[in-house]
């Protein structure tokens, strides 16, 4: 057990090191000029060459890449992720505030798309070729082929503008003091982005689950269970669900990265102040420190998801749990 933990901790550190190098290199290669980004276009043009050289030295324009990386990385190790240019606050603080919003949004979408997608996938897979299967498949194909932002815009037009059921954007009512915001307000604002994200996620989960269900229902053990006199649904309950748990775990945790990617677009469409929106702001605004910070956090999140899947596999699958147990 200790070996397992050590092994995964090591993998996590290696991943973080690799991601930080790649992120830092990419950001350095980007045309973002730190001086221009910090003082602004107008100030840069009216600046004297001496002043410019001074600022270049301050921002380390001439310093070689490895040296810059090492100084950033050592600060990072001490918990200093730098200062966000656009939010004028420490990066860690910005990410923490944003992550709370985003995580709530993503958790709702993650659970909803997982549960609904799994149920629809099993239904379609067990009753393959039936009307229910065709409806589920049709829904999934349409949704899987539609861009997330477009679905978001559509929902916004129909449910927020047209029907007026949901607010147009943001995570709290506009113009209301932070202290007066109720939980109901927050839920009301999170609903439409969460639904959008779920609706898109369902398609992916349902289609994969359907394929797995068909595999399971065509397996030798299901054929044998049916030959022993069990009905289709009895077999599905007794053997189908049990054998679908493993692929469902894999799928559900792989879905984390999908949901994260989707949240960037959805938050943008709904002006929802989460990590995704911060990433877009940072990218467009040349906020190098924040961009690198968000990249690291999202890599850690995806790694955490995969690790959780691995651990659960070990718990659920007797072939892994009782390895070498062949007696």
């Amino acid at each position: 057990m200790a070996k397992y933990i050590l092994h995964n901790a090591l993998r996590f550190l290696l991943l973080m090191a690799a991601v930080s190098v790649v992120v830092f290199t990419l950001v350095s290669l980007s045309p973002v000029d730190p001086v221009q980004a910090n003082v602004g276009q107008a100030a840069l043009l009216s600046m004297s060459p001496e002043k410019r050289a001074q600022l270049d030295a301050y921002w380390g324009v001439g310093t070689p890449l490895p040296e810059r990386y090492l100084s950033w990385a050592s600060a990072l190790l001490q918990g200093d992720m730098g200062t966000s240019l656009r939010y004028n606050a420490p990066v860690a603080q910005v990410i923490a505030a944003r992550a709370a919003n985003s995580l709530a949004l993503m958790a709702i979408a993650w659970v909803a798309s997982g549960v609904i997608g799994f149920a629809l996938g099993v239904l379609a897979g067990v009753r393959r070729g039936s009307l229910a299967d065709k409806l589920v498949k049709g829904y999934c194909f349409v949704l899987a082929a539609s861009p997330t932002f477009w679905i978001g815009l559509l929902f916004l037009m129909v449910f927020a503008v047209g029907l007026g059921w949901f607010p147009l954007g943001f995570s709290v009512p506009v113009g209301k003091a932070a202290a007066d915001v109720t939980l109901l307000d927050a839920l009301h604002h999170i609903a439409l982005p969460a639904i959008t994200l779920s609706v898109v996620g369902v398609a992916n989960v349902a289609l994969h689950t359907r394929e797995k269900t068909i595999d399971v229902m065509e397996s030798d053990y299901v054929r044998f269970a049916r030959a022993r006199g069990m009905s289709t649904w009895q077999v599905a309950r007794r053997h189908g669900l049990r054998n679908l748990v493993l692929p469902a775990i894999t799928l559900q945790f792989a879905q984390i990265s999908e949901i994260f990617g989707g949240s960037v677009l959805v938050e943008q469409v709904f002006s929802y102040p989460g990590l995704g929106q911060a990433a877009v702001t940072a990218g467009l605004g040349g906020d190098v420190a924040l961009l690198a910070g968000i990249a690291l956090v999202s890599a850690a999140l995806v790694f955490g998801g995969n690790l959780a899947a691995n651990v659960l596999y070990g718990v659920v699958d007797p072939r892994m749990r009782r390895r070498g147990g062949a007696r």
Partner: protein
Amino acid sequence: MTEDGKRALREDAQREDAQRERMRHEDARHEQTRHEDAQAHHHHTHAPASRHAHGHHLLQVEDLTVSFRMYDAEEPYLAARQREVRPIERLSISVHAGEIVAVVGASGSGKSLLADAVMGLFEPNATVTGRIWFDGEPMDAAALARVRGRGIALVPQSVASLDPLMKVGAFVRGAACGRGRARREDAAQRARRQRELFARYGLAPEVEDLYPHELSGGMARRVLLCCALMDAPRVIVADEPTPGLDLELAVRAMDDFRAFADAGGGVMLITHDIELALRVADRVAVFKDGTVVEETAVANFAAPELLEHPFSRALWHALPEHGFAAFAGAGAGTATSRKSADAPGEGPAEAGARRAAGAAAAPSEGGEAL
């Protein structure tokens, strides 16, 4: 209902009664006459062990045809037309009480579909016609579903037929019926039955807590047999129950089936292995091109002259003790007309026979499911 309708129904019923009477009469006669080994009735001959308990066959299949509608794989994807394939056509076979009938045919020739049809398990795109009697009762799809696992049980090929994520004890017990207390009692009763079967077949009590991947090959075969015996069936359909075993081991693995038959059950052994069939079965049904071309007592495999169908004789000649030889021309089944196995001009029947005897690489069983 009109008077005419009622009369018509009554007449129908009388006609049926008369027919049933006549059949019972014939069956009774059939029981009394005690045919000799080689004597034919219902297009088959009998072995010493074959019995007609209560005057009928334990399982009788007549004119079974299984057809599928599928897209022609030869044609381009979008233009492909549907066509009908018939992996089983007008097949007849009987299983008597007390005997093992071996259905012998080439791998991938559709034998497993026979097992599916007898179990009443059909693919959605399959059409099945024909008549099946179980213990004297005519069966339809619903009736077959009722006796599935209870009257007629399947013993599948491999450990892949066990749920990889379920302990074998729970798998053997199967699902309990009823609700509440009745369900708990049924579950307890099934647990008792499972332990009893494990004890009878030499499986240690700890085995019930193992997962399929932890079983040895022999344990897995006995576990599969225990599954089949849970609900005390009368007929066992064994679909290639000894894959990968050499002949001596396979013959020994069939001992349990022999014991089941000796206790009054019937076994339909589906296999590609003619040698195994001749060693353990009482009768052999030769399966070729989707039908049983000859159903005969094992004793008739003593000499090719006793066999009726050219393919059966080809099988006889393909046996190792007869030199694996294919022969030229059906009917000329004597040693003098033997040719070497790779002789040019080998006919399809001979090639098929050698395939059936396992002399050539066989296509995978998966192909059978279409």
